[in-house]
Amino acid sequence: MSECGVMSENMPMLLTESLDPAQRELTHQHIESCAACASEWSAMKETWQILETLPTVEVPARVKQRFLAEISAASAVPANVVPFRRRSAARWLAEAAAVVIVGGSAFYAGHRTTPRIDLTPADARVTAIQPYSIAESRVLPAASISPTIEGRPDIENVQFSDASPSNQQIGVSFDITSHVTVTGKPTDKSMVRLLRYVMENEDKMSPSRSRAIDWVRATYSRVDNPDPEITEALANVLRNDEHQGVRIKAADTLQSMQSAMTDGTRDALVEALKNDPNPAVRVKAVEALAKLARSGAVLDPDMVDTLRKKAAQGDENVYVRVKAAEALSSIQPR
């Protein structure tokens, strides 16, 4: 096999960084000195990057339901026979008493609370709701905490503060992992801010911002006049995210939310078209600008200038050039 053949076979391992250091160095040296292999490497790298843009698909919820149902059915027929043990009379009595107490309490609570709900003025209930702040840390007085702990939350890093001589207050601080579900309309400011945080904070988000952007696109492309904060968040992702797959999705989502575009988001698209190192991101950016031009939006001179330069740039991706020219031809005269 020729040297080029050997080096070509090493390329997939270069992509996955699984070549040993000596081979890696040798392959890189060869690529730098051989035009054919450099072209081959460039194409392979680009293919590898493009694969990353394949979106993640959500598992339908029914799969889990079916799986859990099947496990329950399997558990109902145990492989090993568990020996029967007679329960003590005391336990029978305790269980019977528990049934009576729970049933009686529920009946009593139901009959007591039903008329109260009907009689309470709606405004009074609304003012009773305390705003829940999603915060990194907070200090809460014991009086504001319900004495009931729901479920079995994971509590870590527990620290204790002794009673202060002045007011006899003690303190317990801890990290708690709890699952929070926030519901509301897509236009609610709290919802918009939450989604903005999720999209913009790559180091604080798990499991995937890419999935969050997919969901935002599906949700907000159906919303009339979506909040511009959503598009601003996407613009920040487009500007700052280190993963090209995420930047591609951000640009693509901006394209579907033209009505909420601000000057800032348009600038982000222009910057991406000018400077993003990944051609697929530039393609998405120019597509979004072309769509904007087709929709009759007035493009500012900097935008038009960038499109002109891109349309004429010899070493630019042909698709980007074609789209830039298409956008220019769609611009409405002022």
Binding site: S8, E9, M11, P12, M13, L15, T16, S18, S39, S42, A43, M44, E46, T47, W48, I50, L51, E52, T53, L54, P55, T56, V57, E58, V59, P60, R62, V63, K64, R66, F67, L68, E70, I71, A74, S75, A79, N80, D154, T177, P207, D252, Q255, S256, P279, A280, V283, E287, N317, V318, Y319, V320
Partner: protein, 197 residues
């Protein structure tokens, strides 16, 4: 359960207590489903395969010894199931002349270049990539999916696919070469991204 490792959860399952099943499902169902879906390109079969993988995880829990990563073990089960699905679909087609599980694109639709010129649909990227993946033989497709989307090393892929590491490397090379050509419409020297995106 959330604070327990995969191995700790599996040791509970191995002791006959299935309560960690839901937590293990939550941790890995996304990866398993995506792998199966991209391998088979059929959501219904991917759903069946996902459910079957987790049932096998429960039934054959004692076969997990912890010498490979738990995720690799699950992916190995998934790979076996998907290969079986494809084999059965192929046999069915041969015997009955019915449609195979995977419907390959018609020749006119195979050129991503032409598709790009015709359509601007934002779903085209996914379609083109998936079509390029489906042009690969199943063994090469499996290597690409495990390497690119599941982040497995070639040694781990060899465990999953039941072949040597050298064979995996050869398959990876052939697969990348085919995909590169598929994306470029088999025209070397052209503008690759034009054809890829």
């Amino acid at each position: 359960m959330k604070h327990l490792s995969d191995e700790e959860l599996m040791s509970i399952v191995q002791a006959g207590d299935f309560s960690p099943a839901s937590e293990l499902y939550d941790r890995y169902s996304g990866r398993i489903y995506n792998f199966a879906y991209r391998f088979l390109r059929n959501s219904e079969s991917a759903e069946d395969a996902t459910q079957e993988v987790f049932m096998k995880m429960i039934k054959h829990a004692n076969q997990f010894h912890g010498d490979a990563r738990f995720s690799t073990w699950l992916l190995a089960i998934t790979g076996n199931l998907c290969r079986d699905y494809l084999r059965k679909a192929e046999n069915k087609m041969k015997k009955e002349g019915e449609d195979v599980l995977i419907t390959l694109p018609a020749p006119a639709e195979r050129s991503p270049h032409r598709n790009l010129e015709r359509q601007e649909d934002k779903k085209m990227n996914e379609k083109i990539i998936q079509e390029a993946l489906m042009l690969l033989p199943p063994d090469q497709r499996e290597v690409v999916l495990l390497s690119r989307f599941q982040g497995l090393t070639y040694a781990e892929i060899a465990q999953v696919a039941g072949c040597s590491e050298a064979a995996v490397k050869a398959k990876a090379f052939r697969a990348m070469d085919l995909m590169k050509k598929a994306f470029a419409g088999d025209s070397r020297g052209g503008d690759q991204c034009l054809n890829v995106v």
